[in-house]
Symmetry: C2
Subunit: 536 residues, 2 copies
Amino acid sequence: MQVNKTNSEISLKFDDKEFDWKRNESLLHRLENEGVVKLVFPLHDEVKRKHLLRNWALNWHDFTWQPIDEIYSYFGTKIATYFAFLGMYTRWLFFPAVSGLATQLIDFGSLQWLVLPSFFIFVISWAVFFLQFWKRKNSALLARWGINYSFSEYKASCNELDPLRHSLSVQGVEENKFDDAPAEKRRLQRNEWSGVLLRIRNNAIIVLGIICLQLPFELAYAHLYEKTKTEALRYVLTALYLVAIQYYTRIGGKVSVILIKYENNQGEESSADSLIYKVFGLYFMQSYIGLFYHASLYRNILTLRQVLIQRLVVSQVLENLIENSIPYLKYSYKKYRAVHKKKEEKESPSGKSVRLSTRVEKEYLKPSYTASIGEELEDGLFDDFLELALQFGMIMMFACAFPLIFCFAALNNATEIRADALKLLVMLKRPVPRAAATIGAWLNIFQFLIVMAICTNCLLLVCLYDEEGKWRIEPGLAAILIMEHALLLIKFGFSHFVPEEPAWVRANRVRYVAQAQTVCSKQLLRSITKLDSKWE
Amino acid sequence: MQVNKTNSEISLKFDDKEFDWKRNESLLHRLENEGVVKLVFPLHDEVKRKHLLRNWALNWHDFTWQPIDEIYSYFGTKIATYFAFLGMYTRWLFFPAVSGLATQLIDFGSLQWLVLPSFFIFVISWAVFFLQFWKRKNSALLARWGINYSFSEYKASCNELDPLRHSLSVQGVEENKFDDAPAEKRRLQRNEWSGVLLRIRNNAIIVLGIICLQLPFELAYAHLYEKTKTEALRYVLTALYLVAIQYYTRIGGKVSVILIKYENNQGEESSADSLIYKVFGLYFMQSYIGLFYHASLYRNILTLRQVLIQRLVVSQVLENLIENSIPYLKYSYKKYRAVHKKKEEKESPSGKSVRLSTRVEKEYLKPSYTASIGEELEDGLFDDFLELALQFGMIMMFACAFPLIFCFAALNNATEIRADALKLLVMLKRPVPRAAATIGAWLNIFQFLIVMAICTNCLLLVCLYDEEGKWRIEPGLAAILIMEHALLLIKFGFSHFVPEEPAWVRANRVRYVAQAQTVCSKQLLRSITKLDSKWE
């Protein structure tokens, strides 16, 4: 970044404006403040972009193959990881899609009653192994790209340590061991626990909000939808619902962002994870509660199937259409207005830079890759991952109700890869590359969805095989079963609230790494200066 | 270690023997081979030992406080970690002990039916938080002792890498990136998968052995014990059972050790973990199947309580007695024989070293701290941890049947700390210190026992509250519930079989760390030699 390093102010002139560039001030910031520079964003590299367009977005030969290394070098780690995950997910979907097709087409005769349970077991094992192999693939990718976990962890905790270091340097305290500074240790421990309490409070607020506000609303909609007989009224109701739920989700997202600001998350990545969990909670309720209502209301597998197909086709097709058309429409409208404005003004810049200016201008008009919720913390990957997670939840949680759903999902994902690639390469500004070693919070959400799928499919099987309603479950037994499931949730969920490593140990370790790095770099510097002094 | 560094052989003489000390040969090995040195073991440091004896083993003021740092410096990481865990476990046991006592003493009136379920939920949450806080304490201890995780990981994988390095140095191949050596990568991948398959096969053998051989045997014993009416016959039966089961466990342990030798575990620590899982399986069946049988046979909480008290008191008291008296008796017998022998021989060494020789001799006669199973892989900590884990399993899995059991466990553990300390300080040879960053496989076993406890206590509650047998569960429902639990087990268990990080990535990372270390040490060496050359 250009900084004024001279001893005097420099006066700059642009169009009609004139302003001073103060000492030690960043030129870019100054220009941005003055309104000369409107936005700083990375430009597309036309050669590479066209190459990727040909090899990736418009490569119709192999549906799941992607040039991951090229994507990595063009878009950075985070987007490359997303596409690697999407590709692997689509490839792995082949297995349940084929076996789902087989359960529908082949007649197993007297063993027909065994088909659904075995399909269920197969699907759960598939999901477990898929996520495990994804972790392996992820670490293999990181090794190939030369990214080190521990370094990213080190960077993440720098934020946390910065004030500490500052206070140390101000007080001029020199300390080698952390044990010598029990005050620091106590401070870190206090911070950690207040952070944990804050996070628990915020999560409780969100969970209560979802259960007390969203759940009744969703159930009311599902109930009213069933009660109204006229088609016209149903459409009106659905329109009202869609508008209302959109506002509700937006408000929920905003509340989450505000709450997260008060959490002392370590680094931006951790805040983004916190947002993901909270917003996924909202969407989880919104996407599946209607399905659960239908399933429990009818106890009829055929109606549930119909609803599932409707949901999957409508949500996926509509979402893909909206996702891809809205940016294009926005871009076209902006371009039209810009051209119109220019014509009116009749003042084009000097002839030399016309072509370049128009290319940059064109890219400036393109919408950027932003998240629909929490733009401050996340980029467009949030929406794409959310879509994937909701799809995964739907196909897993209702696997037994409709095994063919895996075929739909596989087809949808094959087009999704190309659509997302086109969106990034053609329709949007080139996003700023972001570092992320893993898919982070989404992996935990996928794991959670597998556990949910085990429970929901068991319920579905009970409904399916117990058509006569003979398997009456007594209230006492039901209470104990519910308690068991709640406790299993506690067992596997609560331990996340208490971090395994105390903050002061972590700080200690990070400090050790930092020290080792400074020692190394100092030695390097010394050897360089020695070389220099030899030549003098 | 003393090595002959001169250019000629040295001839040594001891008593009547005479032998040559070859060039570059270790003196100790030579002497051991010649039978002059019988055993190499660390001696007790009398000053420190007496200090520890006073402050730790015979400190009757505070039952759970222990001088962990002194234990660490005297016995090493692994034993200190064990005592830190035992102390924390005993302290934490206070909470469920008090609430267990409260459930028995206080009459809650009309809310009495809520007492057991809430005690159950409290106990499970307690256990979850206890293990989570133990992890924190463990990492805090490691930080205090200056032990770095990654380094121990590095050491563990050295074994794995050694042949690799060797082959590289022989071939004289210089490579910077692992990607350049796809053959090496393929070799590591092949090794990894064959290792996984071998481990699955071995575990399958052990599980089948337990289910097909041990389970019927245990059930037959429990059944016969119920059927026989005469007290005398029962004693005979129990005696037969105890002898048989001991042989069975020994054989199982030996089979496990043999199987483990064919697994390509990475380092000794990993083999020990593998042994722990396998042997714990044997003991798990042996300790609890009788209890399950009683619980399911009588469906009567009072009988189960009686059996629990019997088991806990008998096993803990007897075990403590045996554990402490057998080494003492062995020691006394050996000492008696040695003194007897000396009297007969009437040949004492030269007068000068009489006192020292007798002290060393005395310690030589003490039994060493060995495991009852798999001595090649584990030391006496195995038995101590096994005892703790079996106790934890018993109190957790039958918590609802007998809440007072926590008081017994707390009392037992308070004495256990002192007994174990006395054993290590007085009755045994000073064990060779072993490095271990965590309690390793035992932590996973404790986690597994919590999940088991959730399921067994739910079953117990069903038995307790369903005295009239009205909550009949239909076979279909039962099948689906069993399937659900099996799938949850798959979800949380199977992912352990597939390591998260491919072997070649790990090798790559370890190599990177090793490189960084050599660079650092080379620079250090260079700076030292520079200093040297200045002074020349």
